[in-house]
């Protein structure tokens, strides 16, 4: 997927200059831009949030991304991350995958109940994320963006032998999926950024 593109870019860039493999900070183009403490739109612009402190947002790569999805991180996405889904339409996948892939993440459908959305996310982790174990910790009702939404808490063991923990707050509005998802290493990183996530969720607004 896009990983190959990133790798090829990296090889290409490095080959041009000897002794540049340990390129330091600030050289070259980072994939990330800072998000400061003010209201920003995320994903395809349908939703806006205010982070309580600066985060790093991943730049969109044209033609590679699903426009409704956006990723943020504080310490690097292996350690923590917030993902926004802003109006994913019914009948669509939340990741790009080959139609002929043996194992697939299911499509989102507007008539999905919260347990079904949770199952779709679990599938994402197991099929694409390399999770070897996945525990649902809770599914409960929670208002979100003015609608009757849900909160989904889970943890998963990945094939780097690290346990990660996550929380999703979401809702289906007008047949489209909106959610904010926080996933981080269970040791230290989840607790450290959970308050940020909660503040962001509280600040979230739909743009008309």
């Amino acid at each position: 997927m896009k990983g190959l593109t990133a790798a090829m870019l990296l090889i290409g860039a490095s080959a041009l200059s000897a002794c540049s493999s340990l390129g330091g900070e600030g050289y070259g183009i980072s994939d990330y831009a800072a998000v400061n403490v003010h209201r920003v739109t995320v994903g395809n612009g349908n939703m806006s949030v205010v982070p309580p402190r600066p985060w790093n947002r991943h730049r969109a790569i044209l033609f590679e991304d699903i426009p409704a999805v956006e990723d943020w991180t504080l310490n690097g996405e292996l350690l923590d991350g917030i993902t926004y889904i802003t109006g994913l339409k019914s009948g669509h996948f939340m990741v790009r995958q080959r139609h002929s892939a043996d194992q697939q993440v299911p499509k989102f459908r507007a008539d999905m109940t919260p347990p079904e959305i949770a199952a779709m996310l679990e599938s994402l982790y197991r099929v694409r994320g390399g999770a070897v174990d996945f525990h649902t910790l809770s599914i409960q009702p929670r208002p979100f963006l003015g609608a009757n939404g849900f909160q989904f808490d889970y943890e998963h063991l990945d094939n780097d032998e690290l346990w990660r923990k996550g929380r999703v707050v979401g809702a289906v509005i007008g047949d489209q999926l909106y959610l904010i998802m926080f996933d981080a290493a269970r040791s230290h990183y989840y607790d450290a950024a959970l308050p940020d996530f909660e503040a962001i969720v509280a600040s979230a607004r739909l743009r008309a």
Partner: protein, 258 residues
């Protein structure tokens, strides 16, 4: 779904040319340990293999043992110069007071943190919020617990990899992968290669206070940088990696002002 790209990117760093690079990052408050401190060196990952003509690496047990012994001796000597107590443990069940599984979990978290540091600081995927803040990562409460249970002040995670070109090696001029950062270490094609990194964790706070990578690549076989099989080579590696620990930004500034 951004993380989709991360691992491949990490796998594809390139080392070209004959250069010894080391770039270290330190926490802004970092002062290299001196005086009476207890340093724990965890399961140093050392291997030395022979690069055959075809580019395969043939692991040589006796070389690896020698290299490990040399590195450990060099570490002790270097740290003794600083006045600390160094304990080097080879197996997870060798640390009294700390259950094996707990140690394993700290190592795994450290590994992921190290990967993140490499990606953010060395592979160009810098995080704007961390700019100018030195080394801004932590292992958190689990590392602090490790320190309390074991009684150590610092933990050093060390990885040293050295390939020695055997006779008849042809420089292939190919791109090699320094894939060690994702846990898969591929031999670096192109001559003798030495790739070492170290991270130092302050067990009182859990923070990674110092990180360094030494990447000594040579395109021309026969030129050896600090052959780990010799005591001098190992000492050189340790010196490059650990010896020039620079104090962090704020400490440097304070000293300058004085």
């Amino acid at each position: 779904m951004r993380k989709l790209g991360l691992t491949a990117a990490l796998a594809a760093t390139v080392a070209l040319g004959a250069c010894v690079q080391t770039k270290q990052y330190a926490d802004v408050q970092f002062t290299p340990p001196e005086g009476d401190y207890k340093l724990l060196v965890l399961r140093p990952d050392v291997t030395v293999g022979s690069l055959t003509t075809g580019g395969m690496v043939e692991p040589r047990a006796e070389w690896t043992d020698e290299a490990r012994a040399n590195i450990i001796a060099a570490l002790r000597a270097q740290q003794a110069g600083r006045g600390g107590n160094v304990t080097i443990i080879e197996h997870r069940n060798e640390l009294p007071g700390v259950p094996e599984q707990e140690l394993a979990d700290v190592e795994r978290l450290n590994f992921v943190v190290d990967e993140s540091i490499v990606d953010a600081k060395y592979l160009g995927n810098y995080l704007p919020t961390k700019r100018g803040r030195g080394l801004d990562w932590t292992l958190g409460a689990d590392a602090v617990k490790l320190g309390q249970q074991s009684g150590y002040d610092y933990a050093l995670f060390l990885h040293a990899e050295d390939q020695v070109a055997s006779g008849g090696r042809v420089a292939l001029g190919l791109l090699g992968f320094a894939g060690c950062f994702i846990g898969f270490c591929a031999p670096n094609i192109g001559g003798a290669e030495q790739l070492d990194y170290a991270s130092l964790v302050d067990l009182k706070t859990g923070k990674v206070v110092w990180f360094n990578v030494v990447d000594a690549a040579s395109q021309v076989p026969g030129i050896k940088f600090g052959d780990l099989r010799t005591p001098q080579g190992a000492a050189q590696m340790v010196e490059r990696l650990l010896g020039r620990m620079k104090p962090g930004q704020d400490v440097g500034r304070r000293q300058a002002i004085r």
